[in-house]
Symmetry: C2
Subunit: 211 residues, 2 copies
Amino acid sequence: MNRKVLSNLAFHVLTDREWSRGRSMLEVASAAIDGGATVIQLRDKMSSTRTLIEEGHALRELTRERGVLLIVNDRVDVALAVDADGVHVGQDDMPGDLARKLLGPNRILGISAGSMEEAVAAIVAGADYLGIGPIYATRGKADAGEPVGPGLIAEICKRYTTPLVAIGGITTENAGEVMQAGAAGIAVITAVVNAEDVYLAAHQLARALIV
Amino acid sequence: MNRKVLSNLAFHVLTDREWSRGRSMLEVASAAIDGGATVIQLRDKMSSTRTLIEEGHALRELTRERGVLLIVNDRVDVALAVDADGVHVGQDDMPGDLARKLLGPNRILGISAGSMEEAVAAIVAGADYLGIGPIYATRGKADAGEPVGPGLIAEICKRYTTPLVAIGGITTENAGEVMQAGAAGIAVITAVVNAEDVYLAAHQLARALIV
Ligand code: NI
């Protein structure tokens, strides 16, 4: 796979300590990038700020070398401290407009949305992309809501041009369906980080995006 | 107690959900200020960023009205989002020099130190005050190290002019001792937030500071 065929926001892999089978975050991220990931999202709700910054620094070096984006989940402070490309905030995180203010105009702001209302609010707040989901049932996020299906992506697509990234239960089998609904990309956690062969899992997903 | 007799950094009360006997953060902070607290430090390691920002906004309004400082523990992002007066970072939080860079020169930066080496590093990183401790054994912070005693305050005082705030097991009985060792103030958690009468506990501590 030549990653250059995918656009910047096409394939997000979110880190997850619990699901990584004891492998290091850096090792998993590196294999995911080998397989075709275009964005690494640092997501770690368990660690101290100090640890997050260490992880962020390491991933920043890796992603810069490899020419992929680094987005930090939730933590604007960590994103600024490690010079990440952007931040992704969910509905329990910092409100989007505040995040935009602290990030400035030049970093990427992603905002989660699980309904048309949330999508509109996120666009108004200044989102550069929306994370739409959960599209399907998922095991990676215990607190994810009811699946919204690819239909929501199609609906939002009809009204707005903001890139939509599908998240929640995305597999090689259904990735084509969400891309056809109008997604600009997908985001996965366990499908990649929990795979026995991270490289292979990422590579198969990357190929499935090209519909 | 007329709080104006105390300097700005004299009496820090840290919030703590677990130890507040079910009372709201705002109610506890308000009574602590009535009793003489000059700094409210928002400390909440359990809640989402969204909740932290809501708490911070409420405390910002309260502290501004009452003319006391608001410091946010650990979270530079939350401090900036709610326009707090500053941030306090411990050894597991963002490194002091990075925190200073994100905060800019005009917000207060407090850094925890439990030894002369940590104190020197904190001063070099740009601390406006040092949190020295744990001075005595404490029940409020499960991860606090071995008590350092008031002697460390006296030692640092001989070499540096940065204000020192004593934390860890401070009571009305020993507050005089740490102030005489050279502390500019004290910081408490359970001694105030867990008290049956928050106002009274704060008031007695405030009086004990005047040695
Ligand atoms: Ni290939």
